[in-house]
Amino acid sequence: MATTTTPTTSAATSSAPAPAAPGVDVARAVRVGAIGSVALAFVAAIGMLQTFDNRVVFVPFLSLGDVIFFAVPLVTGYLAGVVPPGPMGGTPRVSAARALLGAAIAGVVVAALPAVLIATLRSDLDLRRTFPNLSPGLAQILTLGQEGAAGYLALLAVCVGLALVGGALLLTEERMRRAVVRGVEIVLVLALIELIARQFLGNLGLGALHQRLYVTNSGLRWLPAVVLFVLFTAVSYVLAGRRASARERMLRTGPERQRRSLIVTLVLAAALLVMPMLVGSIVNELFVNVGLFMLMALGLNIIVGYSGLLDLGHVTFFAVGAYGMAVLTSPASPGFAPELGWWLALPIIVAMAAAAGIFVGTPVIRLRGDYLAIVTLGFAAILERLFISDWLRPYFGGAQGIRRIPGVSVGATTVSGTDPRAMLYLTIGFVLVAVYVSWRLQGSRIGRAWAALREDETTAQAMGVDTTKAKLMAFVAGAMISSFAGALFAAKVGSVFPNSFELLVSIVILVIVIVGGMGHIPGVLLGAVVLIGILGGPRLPGLLQEFQDYKMLIYGTLLVYMMLMKPEGLLPSVRRTRELHQEEFLQDAWFDKKGHFTDDPDATGAEVAVTEASAPPIAGDAADGTEPR
């Protein structure tokens, strides 16, 4: 790293100059290539290439399997030349030699393991008892159908060629690069959603356009794909210049921000109103599912995001809502079937959920963080077992669940899962209520108590916050909001079975909250859209149904990636961003201060705070109340 001594007076703001562009980093290229090689072999060995080989996305030549295959060397080639940012940030420019030569080296390395794979597949070794996905067809894909030595050459050519493309991408301007990536992403998604596009364009009266763009029940035609790619790349390129950086937006306050958010709100509201009309039943269905998870996630957000109580059993409240609705409304409920109307049953189950919140919340009040997590998880497990049990079969139907749950009567009609559009309107209504309630609570007195609780329970209590009450309030509010999801779910599906309330649901809800942005309503909503809408829920398909088999794998990878790269979530709250980026924030504070305040020479706090950020001080003296009670 470059070293400079800086003038002492303005030293605080100085940063190191960008180092000169380094030469070809062979070691890095080989390392990145090796990772790429493992990745490609892995993707092949778990059967992804073959599974997706039948799924044509760009008519007539590219299948989804090919896209995945080609993406690996491309990304590897790109990464091979990247110069890791120095400790003071800033990405230096890369020389053409570094980018291209590095990419070429990486490309060769990438081809290594797949080549071994091909050799093995062509040999007489029978690996399929161990690796069921290593089928002869795989060799065909990896060699692009070439026989003999030509196969290896084809593989090498693909790897090196695409790596070079990746390397070349590195040489372009960053804004351009982002635009290209965005363009590829959009076109790829468009290619995957032929049926949805067919419905949507049909609803818009643009069926002819669909015919031009797509092949029915297949993918995008190649020429429109190219045109769309160019179009979207150009649009992203232009837009990228206009968009204020996320950081600026985060720090911006005052009327401008308010006006902006008002406009955003209005646009969103209009979209919400019109969207279900246009998008067709698949997307409507998808968004109903997303909406249900939004409700659950908003509920959990109060418990985890606002109050910092790690609840790993949130599905409990969903289950109470759904089973409650089933028992109260279904004529087929085995034990007790008052056959109430949905709206009549709703307040009852919300009250039941509140009671469940108190029941779950009370025993865990005195427990510290992770104990709380396992106990809530335990409650969810207990409840799931009770619903499936023969013991309570006379009330909950055991393994057979409860069926024939009527829909929601709205006026003269009944809304249920067979009509996803109406269901979506209903769901949107409830999500709006939940959002409003969450929003109002967050800024209120109780919201501040939750925030204090999350920061430091003992101190909050010492400052007069009734932590018992605040915790229970959080559980009750979270439970009530989540019970809406259960009630809607029962009416939508028309039947409830115990396996819809497995532990995985709790985990997925938590993941939504955290990946979206803990404690931040728009973040939580976005989290649900991304995870449930695109990938799908535990027992729900998402937009990319093709990836069903690999959904959990992608989930896992995405989670790890997110937590390492962007732990505050996709759309974080200011507070959470501060918490996770205290260091960066301190720099801002430092700059801020420079302009404002000169009276207090040693009140910068920077050192103290940075020290604390990296290693929170252990409670110094004994028994000063730091221990949990």
Binding site: G202, G205, A208, G280, L286, T418, S500, P541, D549, K551
Partner: protein
């Protein structure tokens, strides 16, 4: 609101018109000639106003469900909706593959290729089945569906598919509610256009009860299910039938999926001294039961009876499985031929091994194969080639055709009754005595049950 809806409808008509025009232009598109089908969503709106789906409605008259038309060069679309991920994938994957092989074997339908599209996943749950079915009914080019794997998913899926005018044939739904009750009336989840080649649980429960009571002469039985609606339904049916015959189920209990330590439940069973245990659960739990029951005092000599869920290589090959009885639909497919594709079960298994590198992991592959040929045959029978070379399938006619199709399949005679039960309904009990025989079709039959009409 009314204005909007009107707008949408106008848009739909414009869309339909443009579709027709473009179709004439390049002859490369799916075309929907019936106006009610022009916009699936718009019509869906009206048709599905009553989700309760009155089951008493008489069979639809031909023509009022619309039709689907394929232009020359297009493929007939059918869909597979099976549990292909998660813990029940072992059941759904062979079903899907059976369907794939059947499509390949059947070949073209009146010169039109048949396409399965992206296989859909019922996730073995009601919500998963509903969402996936929603995808299917949104695509008005789909002629029919093979699925679901799980009865729980089948309930909402059959309702949706039925109200969209489509048909679905399941290979492994066995829950009585989907078709008929023991009294020959509609089951509570019966829907028009739903068929299955799988047997009805009630028959199997009765078959086991009869076999145990009359053939083996046992009167004290235990039953263990695993919380799956299927196994739970089966043990309940068994209990009812056995009690009616005069026997007694002294322990009725359950394990959980994922359990490995079966000693507690077996001790519970042993405490009541049953003469036999009916344990129709799936691997791997059934493996654990087989391995552990011999070590539980008092169970050394009990008669063990399992069901079709366990008739897979992974269970049959373990030594502890020797001596187990299995109930299930007739699996003596050897010599059986699907008369439509002229394929024997043996050939099928060879094909399967060749193509997928393993033997089927569950017993319903033949049901899936027959279900698919059943559907394709019916399509073949009702499809009409128009003057422009397009192929039109009338949905109502397809339903009717399915209700009246009859042929010899891999699993035996396929004849659909008025509630959609098409399978033979014959239940066999086999005795597994040699763990080197891992092909269930090779295991000797000791009892055959034919439901009395």
């Amino acid at each position: 609101m009314r204005m909007l809806r009107k707008g949408v409808r106008t848009a739909a008509i414009v869309a339909a018109a443009s579709l027709v025009l473009t179709a004439c232009g390049n002859g490369d598109t799916a075309d929907l000639t019936d106006d009610t089908e022009a916009d699936a969503d718009a019509t869906g709106d009206e048709e599905t106003d009553d989700p309760g789906d009155d089951p008493d409605e008489d069979a639809a008259e031909a023509g009022d469900l619309g039709s689907v038309t394929y232009q020359e060069g297009e493929a007939i679309q059918i869909r597979s909706l099976e549990a292909i991920s998660g813990d029940v994938a072992f059941l759904g994957i062979p079903n899907q593959r059976g369907t794939e092989i059947a499509i390949a074997d059947y070949g073209d339908v009146q010169g039109f290729a048949v396409e399965l599209g992206t296989p859909l996943d019922d996730l073995c749950s009601a919500d998963g089945g509903q969402s996936a079915a929603q995808t299917i009914v949104s695509d008005d080019t789909v002629a029919g569906v093979i699925g679901t794997s799980c009865s729980g998913a089948g309930v909402p899926a059959s309702e949706l598919i039925s109200s969209a005018g489509m048909v679905m044939v399941s290979a492994s739904n066995t829950n009585p509610a989907l078709t008929q009750t023991p009294f020959g009336t509609e089951g509570e989840n019966f829907s028009e256009g739903y068929y299955r080649t799988a047997h009805n649980d009630l028959y199997q429960g009765a078959a086991v009860a009869e076999f145990v009571y009359e053939e083996l002469g046992l009167t004290q039985m235990a039953a263990i299910h695993d919380g799956d609606p299927y196994t739970d339904g089966l043990t309940t049916a068994f209990q009812d039938a056995f009690t009616e015959l005069g026997g007694e189920v002294v322990v009725y209990t359950a394990v959980n999926k994922g359990d490995t330590d079966m000693v507690p439940v077996l001790t519970e069973v042993a405490g009541e001294n049953p003469e036999g245990i009916f344990v129709p659960i799936f691997p791997p739990e059934v493996n654990r039961v087989a391995e552990q029951y011999v070590n539980v005092e008092g169970l050394e000599d009990v008669v063990m009876i399992s069901a079709d869920g366990a008739q897979v290589e992974g269970f049959l090959e373990i030594a502890e499985a020797e001596g187990f009885y299995f109930s299930g639909p007739s699996l003596q497919f050897e010599g059986n031929n699907n008369e439509i594709t002229d394929k024997s079960a043996t050939d099928f298994l060879e094909d399967y091994q060749e193509q997928y590198g393993e033997a089927p992991s569950a017993a319903f592959w033949a049901h899936a194969y027959d279900a698919t040929t059943l559907l394709l045959q019916a399509i073949d029978n009702v499809a009409e080639v128009g003057d422009d070379g397009s192929l039109t399938i009338d949905r109502a006619a397809l339903r009717d055709e399915l209700y009246s199709t009859s042929f010899q399949g891999l699993i035996g005679q396929i004849t659909c009754d008025e509630f959609g039960d098409c399978g033979a309904g014959e239940i066999q009990i086999i005795l597994h005595e040699d763990s080197s025989v891992t092909d269930a079709t090779q295991i000797p039959v000791v009892y055959t049950f034919v439901p009395s009409e």
